[in-house]
Assembly symmetry: C2
Homo-oligomer: 271 residues x 2
């Protein structure tokens, strides 16, 4: 993989103060953005999610104009790749108490080259389960040990991805993607994220497009037993887009390729 | 507060690589150690807890001899203060999957000066609740947003500390201390840490001392309604030792000062 290009707080820089609270406590948020031909894909959605997450942790996040300028320093016209924006509460003394005022730190990394997503995903269910913590549900914060554990589990079985349930057995997402389902009536559903999980920008794009098409996506609790109610499923994130899911556990989905094509069309219309 | 003295991977250094997985995902652990007159208080317990936590995350932790040497570089004879040892999985590329092999990073900070602990703690119960995640329960990992949130809550009400319950209502700890209780028969109890919470070194010292005294501490589920079953409570950590708890919520404890004296004597014997 090529080396990432890095900027920290507006400077070309590859090191962070060791007293950063992102390092000490995971006290911060991040988002991963696809860069296509020098442009941020779904820029408005991405910035909106980042701002939402900063607000959720009461961190003063960067402005859209500042992010544009900083990404402009890292990305050249024609570049394709993956950008990651991390915003932490900045440096802090010993102890959990956030400094007041805090000086948030923004780390932006751009890695050229776009990984090729799989055509289809067959998902086993991870043994690693997500804890239910409504306080931070939906937020892409830096407390991500559960995802690390689940990716490790996927690696051990050479699986490209795994479906994840919460500790109460509800299906939530995959280790790195949101999930959406279609029922036989053509209505789309997605796991609600009031207790855990990350509300991705691509999920938001699909939900907005569905709403505008007059068929809003319904957020629901999906227990293992109710997966069989659906006839199609897709997994999505900002890098790979929407991918047809052929099965989750023992449940096979016949119409996932059609659902993935519909999603791809909607994503193309909201990029 | 005086500036901390820092060493990273065996070098005097104050910056870490921005691709550290502790920063990216909280993929690491830490421990806070009291330094008294140039010596680590309860060194054996502290190193044991750190090694336990590294093993829990499958991170190759530093040896006791290496830690001794590194702390020796930072701490002079006669120094009193607080040392913090952080071990992360080290640098990693994009994505949750841990690098194989990983090169763990060790950050050691020593801050001269010992905060004066309160004589007694009156604890309200935090609105911030701890999620139940058995996978990492007991481990002092770097995913600590819940504690950050609870300390923020304490700060907002100018409380020195708050008691914390899990999302199912069981009492677990305070924002920065373990809790132990005594019943009217003189038997000690402490919240079990199978679902969440941090197993502190001071808690371990008290549990070992009680066991050697023939009255082992019993790990139990303590729901709000059962707090009233106890007549004494203490809160403990490595920096403040054991502190008498005068009340938790509406429950007052008459015999906490005696329990705290017993605990202090045991801690003096295991330093």
């Amino acid at each position: 993989m090529p080396e990432p290009r890095l900027r920290i707080d507006g400077q070309a820089q590859t090191f962070v103060a060791a007293d950063d609270r992102g390092l000490a406590y995971g006290d911060g948020v991040f988002r991963t953005l696809a860069i296509d031909n020098g442009q941020v894909v779904a820029r408005v959605f991405q910035y909106e999610r980042l701002a939402h997450d900063c607000a959720a942790l009461d961190i003063r996040g960067p402005s859209a104009a500042w992010l544009d300028a900083e990404l402009g320093q890292l990305i050249e016209a024609g570049d394709t790749g993956v950008a990651k924006i991390t915003v932490t509460r900045g440096s802090g003394g010993r102890g959990y108490t956030p400094p007041v005022p805090a000086r948030p730190r923004v780390i932006i990394a751009f890695t050229p080259g776009m990984p090729t997503p799989p055509d289809t995903l067959a998902l086993d269910i991870a043994a690693t389960r997500l804890a239910c913590q409504p306080l931070f549900a939906g937020v892409k914060h830096l407390n991500r040990l559960e995802q690390v554990w689940a990716r490790r589990e996927a690696g051990a079985s050479a699986a490209p991805d795994l479906a994840m349930t919460d500790t109460q057995g509800r299906l939530v997402a995959t280790t790195m993607r949101n999930l959406l389902f279609m029922d036989p009536a053509g209505l789309w559903h997605t796991p609600g994220l009031a207790r855990c999980g990350i509300a991705g920008a691509t999920r938001a794009r699909l939900m907005q497009a569905a709403e505008q098409a007059g068929r809003p996506v319904v957020e629901v609790d999906i227990h293992a037993a109710s997966i069989a109610d659906f006839c199609a499923a897709i997994a999505c994130n900002s890098i790979g887009g929407a991918i047809a899911v052929s099965r989750i556990g023992e449940n096979r989905f016949e119409h996932s390729p059609a659902m993935a094509r519909r999603a791809a069309a909607w994503l193309a219309a909201t990029a």
